[in-house]
Structures are given as C-alpha cells and as structure tokens.
C-alpha cells in the first residue's frame, strides 16, 4: 500500500518532469531555429567587378569584348538625351521595372529619397542618364513592412543591363561594371557623383547592418554602370 502510493507520487512527479523536458526541448530548438533564420535573411549582396580609373582609350583596349561602340566615347555618338526627367528604370536581371520620381536635396544637404518605397528616384541636380557624368538613381531596400524596390540591387552582377526610358519613348542602356558596399559614414561622394569621361549611371540603396538606435542602415550599396547605347540592350 505504502509502496504503491510512493510509486504514484513518483509517477506524478516524473510526468511533470517529462512535460517540462519536452516543453523546454521544443522551446530551445525553436529559439535556435529562429536565431538561424534571423541570421540568414539580410538583403542579398554580392560585391563584384572592378572600379578602373582608366582613360577611355585604355579601357576599350583592356576590354575588347565589351560591346561598347568605339564611338560611344566620343560626345558626337552619345545619346541625344531628352530634356525632361527620365520616366522608368528596368533591370531585367533582378526583375525590377519601376517609375522614377525626381529627387533634390534635403535642407541639411543630404539626398532626398523617394516617399514611395515602391519606386526609385533620379537625382535631378546631377546629369540626366546618358549625359556626360554620373547620373544617380536611388531606391529603398525595404520599408517597415518588407522588401522595397531595390531589395535585390546588391544581387546585380557585372554585365547586367539597365535601361532608362523617357515619356517620349527615348531609351538609353547601361551595363553594370561593379557593385560595392560603403559605410555611410565614409560615403565616396566624388566616386559616386563626381565627373566621368563618358555617360555613367549609379544605382544606390541601403545595406549592411540596420541600426535600430538611429533607424537607418549603416551602409550603402552602389551599382556602377556605363553607357552602352541607345535603345534596349540585353
């Protein structure tokens, strides 16, 4: 009698232990799985390509396979860029097709960003895409809710084509030659916005770690592209 009561108490306490063991094991595995998930899903980024500060002649000599029309380096052969703002941007490699808004400066001298997370914007105080110099287009990597227009920008690789159209149907194309990530604190302003011998394009979004204190990403992803011709390529 006393033995069986003892055994019953034992059974009850071991049952409680079993429940606790199973519960803790499941919770532990779930937390570990979540930690893997949290670590594994930042926006994609593949830093690639070369930023060659070469003269136009050495550049065409170095990369003869680049389908760059020789005349593309002469102003006469550059596109006749319409006066208005560019209207759309297409990057087929990452399934981006978006309208473009116009961006100026914030009062503190930083670049405005699109109010709409689903569209990109062209920096209208700089060159138009296809004009000599670096035309700059920026878009958000994400909103508070999820991926935005340039979520996959960091996955673009050299050789990908970028096309810009105007409302009148004009179109110019660029070819990506490098993808880089820079700390915002050390943003290479001259490299991104500075003068270039031929028409170039820069696509910019955010990257790196998201700082919850400031509410901003700490890095920027920059895609460098060079003019390849009028009309659609690729």
């Amino acid at each position: 009698m006393s033995i069986s009561r003892n055994r019953g108490r034992l059974t009850r306490s071991t049952l409680l232990l079993d429940v606790a063991i199973v519960g803790l094991s499941l919770a532990g595995l779930a937390a570990l799985a979540f930690s893997r998930l949290a670590a594994d899903s930042p926006p994609p980024l593949r830093v690639s390509g070369a930023l060659l500060a070469t003269s136009p002649s050495t550049r065409s000599a170095q990369s003869p396979r680049l389908k760059l029309p020789l005349g593309a380096l002469r102003p006469a052969a550059w596109p006749r860029v319409p006066r208005g703002a560019p209207a759309t941007l297409t990057i087929s490699a990452i399934d981006v097709h978006t309208g473009l808004v116009r961006l100026g400066l914030n009062p503190d001298g930083t670049l405005e960003v699109p109010a709409d997370f689903s569209v990109a914007g062209w920096y209208e105080l700089g060159p138009r895409p296809g004009e000599q110099g670096a035309a700059v287009i920026v878009g958000h990597v994400d909103s508070r809710e999820g991926p935005a227009v340039f979520y996959r920008l960091g996955a673009v690789t050299p050789g990908a084509f970028v096309s810009i159209t105007w409302a009148n149907g004009s179109e110019v194309s660029f070819r990506v030659y490098a993808v880089r990530e820079y700390a915002k604190a050390a943003f290479p302003t001259s490299l991104v916005y500075g003068e270039t011998p031929a028409p170039e394009l820069r696509l910019v979004t955010c990257g790196g770690r998201f700082d919850r204190q400031t509410g901003h990403y700490v890095d920027n992803v920059v895609v460098f592209a060079r003019y390849v011709g009028d009309g659609r390529h690729g």
Partner: protein
C-alpha cells in the same frame, strides 16, 4: 623707475595697437556662411555686417566671389542692411558650380569690404542616402541562440533529475 615706465609705455602701446586692430576688423564688418559645406544646387544662408561708419546703412551689401560660384561675373545677390549695418540672404549654389572651396566676400558702397568666409561645394549630396526602414533587417540572432541553448541545457538537467528520481 625709468625702465619700469618704459615697460609700461611699451605695454600700453602694444595694448593700444591690439585694440586698434580689433577695432579696424570690427569696423570693416563680418560675414559667415551656413552651412559651410553644401552640394551644388544646395542653398546656404549668408549673413554678416558691414560697419555703418564705412558704408552708410542705406547702401545694400552685395556678396561676391568666384564666377563659378556667382555666374556670370562673380557678383552674387544683394541684400538691404539694417541700421546696425547687418544683412542676410539665402543663396542657391548653381548646379554648374564645380566641387571645391570658394571665398565669399562682400561689397558695400562700391568697394570690397575686405572680409571673406569660406564655402565648400561638395561633389554631391552629403553622406549616403537613407534608403531603408529596416523591415527586412532582422535583429541580432545572438539572444535567440542564447535562449535556445539555455532551454536545452535546462531540459538536460531535468533529464538527469528524472533518472535520479526513477532510482528506488
């Protein structure tokens, strides 16, 4: 005694010279540009003062500098001066202005006042653009990993206790 007097006299002369220098600088006026660094296309606030002794307050102040900053001739906008000789104006740097450092001076009553502030024009907007709100940025994975490991450790402790409890 004489030497002491000479030293005092020298000191007095030096102090007077310093005071005179300060007075002449103050007499000319002052100028400042804010912010001191701006991209081409950005707007700066230029303010300052031109002494009413040197230039009557009825005369306006005109900012001057390099023709790249103030095209086509290096003359910028003018602003009226108050009875103290103070002036202020906003100026938008042309998008055509190359990056670099520029002196911003001021003219009043047909002459240069002889003072200048430095304005730096950057190649593009300052810093990197704020192009994300963090919706796809997951927090640090460390707390979750620590919590998970803690739970599993506790579970194994309970397994050990259960083994002990099962013993007669």
């Amino acid at each position: 005694m004489r030497r002491l007097f000479a030293v005092a006299l020298l000191g007095g002369v030096a102090a007077a010279a310093v005071l005179a220098g300060a007075a002449s600088a103050a007499q000319n006026g002052s100028i400042s540009v804010s912010p001191s660094t701006v991209p081409a296309g950005g707007t700066v606030h230029i303010s300052g003062s031109v002494s009413v002794q040197g230039c009557p307050p009825s005369d306006s102040a005109t900012v001057v500098g390099n023709a790249a900053l103030f095209p086509p001739d290096g003359f910028g906008p003018s602003a009226a001066r108050d009875s103290q000789g103070d002036f202020s104006l906003d100026y938008t740097v042309p998008t055509s202005t190359p990056a670099g450092s520029y002196d911003v001076g001021v003219r009043c009553g047909g002459g240069n006042v002889g003072i200048a502030a430095t304005l730096t024009v950057s190649a593009g907007p300052l810093g990197g653009p704020a192009t994300g709100a963090g919706g796809t940025a997951h927090g640090s994975s460390t707390p979750w990993a620590v919590a998970g490991a803690g739970c599993l450790l506790l579970a194994s402790v309970l397994v050990a206790r259960r083994r002990l409890a099962r013993r007669p």
